[in-house]
C-alpha cells in the first residue's frame, strides 16, 4: 500500500512537471517510477496522456505540443469509448473578466474541434469557459500566467486509477 502510494505520488509529480513545462512533450512511462496505473484510468489520462494544453497570450492557436497532446487524448478516448469529456477553457489574470470568458470559450473550442477532427464524436464532448476565475498557478508572473492559459479535458466514465 505504501509502495503504491509512492508510485502514484511519483507519477503525479512527473505529470505536474510535464504540465508546467509546455515544451516537454515526452510521454511519461507509467511504470518508470514503479507505479501500476491502469491505462484505462483517469489517472493515466491526466498524467500520462496529458489532460491540458497551453496557449500564448490572447491566443487560441494550438501549437505543435498542444496538437500532440490532443492527438494522444483523442487516441485514448477512442480506446476508452465509454468516456466523455468536458473541455474547460481558461485565461490568465491579465485580461478583463468578460473578455477572458470569451477567450476561454475560444480555447476550449479549439481543443474541441481538434478532438472532433481526430474522430471523437462531438456528443462525447462539452465545452465550458471559466475565463480567469479558476487559475491553476497562483503567482502573478509569466510562468504562472503561462500555466493558466490552458484548456483542460476533464474526463468522466473511467476508473480513477
Amino acid at each position: 500500500m505504501t509502495f503504491l502510494k509512492l508510485g502514484l505520488a511519483s507519477a503525479l509529480a512527473l505529470g505536474l512537471a510535464a504540465c508546467s513545462n509546455t515544451t516537454d512533450t515526452a510521454a511519461v512511462d507509467p511504470n518508470a517510477a514503479g507505479g501500476t496505473i491502469s491505462e484505462t484510468s483517469l489517472q493515466y489520462f491526466n498524467t500520462v496522456v496529458g489532460d491540458r494544453v497551453f496557449f500564448d497570450t490572447d491566443s487560441s492557436a494550438l501549437d505543435l505540443t498542444a496538437q500532440e497532446t490532443l492527438t494522444r487524448q483523442a487516441q485514448w478516448m477512442q480506446a476508452n469509448a465509454s468516456t466523455t469529456a468536458v473541455i474547460e477553457g481558461h485565461a490568465d489574470e491579465r485580461g478583463t473578466r468578460e473578455y477572458n470568458i470569451a477567450l476561454g470559450a475560444r480555447r476550449a473550442n479549439a481543443a474541441y474541434n481538434f478532438l472532433v477532427s481526430q474522430g471523437i464524436d462531438g456528443s462525447r464532448l462539452r465545452t465550458v469557459s471559466y475565463g480567469k476565475e479558476r487559475p491553476e498557478a497562483l503567482g502573478s508572473d509569466d510562468a504562472s500566467w503561462a500555466q493558466n492559459r490552458r484548456s483542460v479535458s476533464v474526463v468522466t466514465g473511467a476508473p480513477v486509477s
Binding site: G95, E98, Y99, Y112, N113, S129, E133, E136
Partner: protein, 436 residues
C-alpha cells in the same frame, strides 16, 4: 440662478442676498478647495428620536465629507447653538468660524412609530436659506436613508448636480483561496452600510447589474455548469433564468427602459452581442463577426450600444445602433480597451484600459475624443457610474497568491480616489439608480 435663489429665500421668509453669487461648488473644476460647512447635531424632539439624531447627523456629514467637495468644521469649534430646522440661525456665530454652509435639522418620532427628519440648508455669509426646508419620513429600520436623502439635498443644492447618496451597490463578495475563490452576490448602501449577501456560498457568480427600478439585478452564474445569465429580485431573492437556448451567456446589462437585456452569447467558440426582450424572451442578434464581441452597454437614451471587440486584431471599443449593425470604432490610443460603460449623463464612456502590464480606469467622449485615465494599478477593472454620472466605482486587485480585490471610487475628474469602506474582499460593483 440668482433669481431662483431669491424667490426661494422670500418664500422661506428670510432676507434675500441679491447682491451675492449663490453658494455653489463647481465640481467639474480640476482642483477645488473643499467648502467648509457646519452641521450641529440634529435636534431631537423626543426621547425616541434622541438615539438616532446623532447617527443621522453623522451619516449625512460623512456622505458630504467623503466627496472631498466639503470640509466639516468640527462640532467642538461651534459657537452657535444647535437649533431645529424651524429656527433661523444666528449667522454671525457661524461666520465667526468661517462656515460657508450650515445644515440644521430636527428629528422626531411620528405617532405611528416612524422617524421624521426635517432639514434646512443655509448660506451663512448671505444670511439666508438655500431653498426650502425638506421633510423626510421613514421606517425606523431604514433611518439611514433619511440621512442620505438629506445629504443628497445639500449636495444637489450646492453643486447643481443630482445627488447619489440614497443608492445601493451590488457586487461580488470574495473569500477563499485564489485558485478556488468563493464568490457570492452581495448588496450594500453606497457608503458600505447594510451589507448582506444574496446568494449562497459554493456557486460561482459574476458581474451583477441593476435594473433601472433598482429592484431587479442581472448576474452570471455557473449554477448549471456553464455561465448563464439570471435575473434576481433583490427583495424577494427569487431567481429566474433569462433564457434557455444553448450556449454560454454573460456580460448582461439592462436597457435604460428596463425592457430589454443586452449580453454576450458564446456558441462554438464565437462570442457575439445579443438583445433579449424581457416580455417575450425573444433573442435578437446584434453583432455577427468571428471576433469576440462582448461587454455591451446602452447609451442612456437607448439609441446606441457601446461594446468591446477584437475584430480589428485587439480589444477596442465600438459604438453601434441599438438594433445592431454598422459599428464604429472609437478607441484609438495605445493598448487594449475593455468594459465600456456609458455615463447616465450621456457625456462620457468609462472603460478599463490595459497597457504595458498595467490596468487603468479611464473616460472618453462617446466619439472617442478627450480620453483621460483616472487610475492605474496592477489591476483596475470594471467601472460603474453613480447615477449622477460624476463618480465611478471599480475594483482594484493586487497580484500574487495572496492578492485580492477591493472596491474603490474616484470622481470622473480623477479626484478623490478612495477605498469603499468595507472589510470584505469585493469585485464587480454595480451602482443602483437613486432609490425611489
Amino acid at each position: 440662478m440668482r433669481y431662483l435663489f431669491c424667490i426661494l429665500a422670500l418664500v422661506a421668509g428670510a432676507q434675500c442676498a441679491a447682491a451675492q453669487e449663490p453658494l455653489r461648488i463647481e465640481i467639474t473644476d480640476g482642483v477645488i478647495e473643499p467648502m467648509p460647512f457646519a452641521a450641529p447635531q440634529f435636534v431631537a424632539a423626543d426621547g425616541g428620536a434622541q438615539e438616532v439624531a446623532a447617527q443621522l447627523t453623522k451619516v449625512m456629514t460623512d456622505d458630504l465629507v467623503n466627496t472631498a467637495l466639503f470640509r466639516l468644521i468640527p462640532q467642538a469649534a461651534y459657537i452657535g447653538r444647535a437649533e431645529g430646522a424651524d429656527a433661523t440661525p444666528q449667522f454671525p456665530d457661524w461666520r465667526a468660524i468661517n462656515a460657508q454652509a450650515l445644515v440644521t435639522g430636527s428629528v422626531a418620532s411620528t405617532p405611528d412609530g416612524r422617524i421624521e427628519l426635517q432639514v434646512r440648508l443655509w448660506d451663512v455669509f448671505a444670511g439666508g436659506p438655500v431653498g426650502e426646508g425638506l421633510r423626510f419620513v421613514g421606517d425606523r429600520q431604514s433611518w439611514r436613508r433619511l440621512a442620505h436623502k438629506a445629504a443628497d439635498m445639500v449636495y444637489s443644492r450646492l453643486t447643481g448636480e443630482a445627488g447619489y447618496f440614497d443608492t445601493r451597490v451590488v457586487f461580488v463578495a470574495e473569500s477563499g483561496p485564489k485558485g478556488r475563490r468563493n464568490k457570492q452576490l452581495a448588496i450594500m448602501d453606497q457608503d458600505g452600510a447594510g451589507l448582506r449577501t444574496l446568494t449562497q456560498a459554493g456557486e460561482l457568480v459574476l458581474a451583477p447589474r441593476f435594473a433601472p427600478s433598482s429592484q431587479t439585478i442581472l448576474f452570471t452564474s455557473y449554477r448549471s455548469g456553464e455561465p448563464r445569465v439570471y435575473l434576481m429580485n433583490v427583495e424577494s431573492g427569487a431567481v429566474d433564468q433569462l433564457d434557455r437556448l444553448p450556449g454560454m451567456t454573460f456580460a448582461p446589462r439592462f436597457s435604460p427602459d428596463g425592457r430589454r437585456v443586452v449580453m454576450s452569447l458564446s456558441i462554438g467558440g464565437n462570442t457575439d452581442v445579443y438583445a433579449v426582450d424581457l416580455g417575450s424572451r425573444a433573442r435578437s442578434r446584434l453583432t455577427d463577426s468571428p471576433a469576440i464581441d462582448t461587454a455591451p452597454s446602452y447609451a442612456p437614451d437607448g439609441s446606441q450600444i457601446v461594446f468591446e471587440s477584437d475584430r480589428g486584431g485587439s480589444q477596442q471599443l465600438y459604438v453601434m445602433p441599438a438594433g445592431g449593425g454598422g459599428a464604429t470604432r472609437i478607441s484609438f490610443g495605445q493598448g487594449r480597451y475593455a468594459t465600456p460603460v456609458w455615463s447616465p449623463r450621456g457625456d462620457l464612456i468609462a472603460f478599463t484600459k490595459m497597457q504595458g502590464g498595467r490596468f487603468y480606469i479611464g473616460v472618453m467622449r462617446p466619439d472617442g475624443s478627450e480620453e483621460r485615465l483616472l487610475t492605474a494599478s496592477f489591476l483596475d477593472e470594471g467601472p460603474t457610474w453613480a447615477p449622477n454620472g460624476r463618480v465611478l466605482m471599480f475594483f482594484r486587485e493586487t497580484g500574487g497568491a495572496n492578492g485580492g480585490p477591493v472596491l474603490m471610487s474616484v470622481d470622473a475628474t480623477g479626484r478623490n480616489l478612495r477605498r469603499v469602506p468595507i472589510t470584505l474582499a469585493a469585485s464587480d460593483p454595480a451602482w443602483s439608480p437613486l432609490l425611489q
